[in-house]
């Protein structure tokens, strides 16, 4: 065993966790190496000191202050919350809380499915071509109007819910429709 092996096993020796064979080899090295002997002695002294505990102590009124804090903290919480955590109150059991959580998730899922916005179609539905009549009409840009870019405004046509909520998405969608129409032969 060399000094680096000794350092790896030092802690296990302090915790009485070395096997008989390793312990013997550890002690053999210890007898012949003054540096490792000093290292181990120092580690033992530090460990002993850590175990002796701290001289600092808790304030004598610690528990009273804790109880006071619990009272004020709980008083600030809403009544339904207090019913959940206060001992002696008709609190809900963990099983009931689990049931409530499942019910809440079910309500959320139903709400999402009912109010899910209609997604804009990625491709134009078959049969709905320009030959069948444009879904919107083009209005030439007026100088000084709110649309000076020259890009045609769209006054008709149905925007999806998402597009109505998000102006950027709506404008982009309209421009793409315009480009696709203009680009056709």
């Amino acid at each position: 065993m060399d000094c680096s092996d000794f350092r790896v096993l030092a802690s296990a020796h302090l915790d009485f966790e070395l096997s008989f064979a390793k312990q013997r080899s550890f002690l053999q090295h210890l007898e012949g190496c003054e540096l490792c002997a000093r290292l181990l002695a120092h580690m033992q002294k530090i460990q002993l000191h850590l175990k002796q505990g701290v001289t600092a102590s808790l304030s004598p009124d610690f528990v009273a202050r804790l109880q006071e804090r619990l009272r004020t903290d709980l008083a600030r919480r809403p009544a339904w919350w207090r019913r959940l955590v206060e001992p002696g109150a008709s609190g809900l059991s963990p099983a009931s809380l689990g049931g409530l959580a499942v019910a809440a998730m079910a309500v959320l899922a139903i709400s999402l499915s009912l109010f899910r916005p209609e997604a804009a179609p990625l491709v134009e539905p078959a049969g709905q071509s320009l030959q069948a009549g444009p879904p919107f009409k083009l209005i030439p840009a007026q100088p000084g109007s709110a649309n000076p870019s020259g890009v045609a405004d769209v006054s008709t046509g149905s925007d999806s819910l998402l597009e109505r909520r998000d102006p950027a998405r709506r404008d982009f969608s309209r421009q793409m429709k315009y480009v696709s129409q203009v680009g056709r032969p």
Binding site: A12, H42, P87
Partner: protein, 196 residues
């Protein structure tokens, strides 16, 4: 049957069922151990007391989070350790935390003694300050394991559960932490000798 005959796990079960005196018994059982754990961690008495209070309030308000699959001590040490680590990180970010602020600057390293004469008591205080100072210089993951193992004397298995790391990692980390602590204290001692 007195409350001393109940295990910690039985007491928290009673508290979950609404028995507040079971909570107070748990507070009595753990307050000093946890205070010493947190104090060793943060090195400041007032902060340690505040964090201990936060821990015990959390036990009160989150009592239903405890499940009997783990030891109660593992659960409460996890709460205290997390709060202490979070606080230390916050302080480090604010750059207001320094060992000099703890009033430990310039203390000397002395070895522990069982002699209780005034001079020896003074030396003991200095040693404690030096140890505390050295602990403060350890990285958090080393500090945590060395405090749990050497101050709280918890088993490797329990430390593994508290820190959520494998048993082998706990053992190697404890070894490296002890060696690092020894190295820091040797340097402090050497500095003191050079000053003398």
């Amino acid at each position: 049957m007195t409350s001393h005959e109940y295990t910690d796990e039985e007491l928290i079960t009673q508290f979950q069922a609404g028995n507040e005196s079971a909570y107070l018994e748990l507070v009595e059982r753990f307050k000093n151990r946890l205070f010493s754990f947190i104090y060793r961690f943060v090195g400041d008495v007032d902060l340690a007391e505040d964090l201990l209070q936060d821990t015990l309030v959390k036990v009160y308000t989150h009592k239903h989070s405890y499940r009997e699959i783990a030891k109660f001590s593992t659960w409460i040490y996890t709460i205290a350790g997390n709060l202490a680590r979070t606080e230390l990180r916050k302080r480090r970010r604010r750059a207001t935390f320094s060992m000099s602020a703890l009033g430990l600057g310039g203390r000397e390293l002395e070895l522990p003694s069982t002699d209780h004469t005034p001079s020896k008591i003074h030396e003991g205080v200095q040693t404690e300050a030096a140890i505390q100072r050295a602990l403060g210089q350890l990285p958090l993951h080393f500090r945590t394991v060395v405090i749990l193992r050497d101050v709280q004397e918890l088993s490797y298995d329990e430390i593994s559960k508290i820190m959520k790391i494998p048993l082998g990692t706990v053992k190697s980390r404890v070894n490296r932490a002890r060696l690092r602590l020894q190295e820091i204290l040797s340097n402090l001692d050497e500095n003191r000798r050079n000053k003398d």
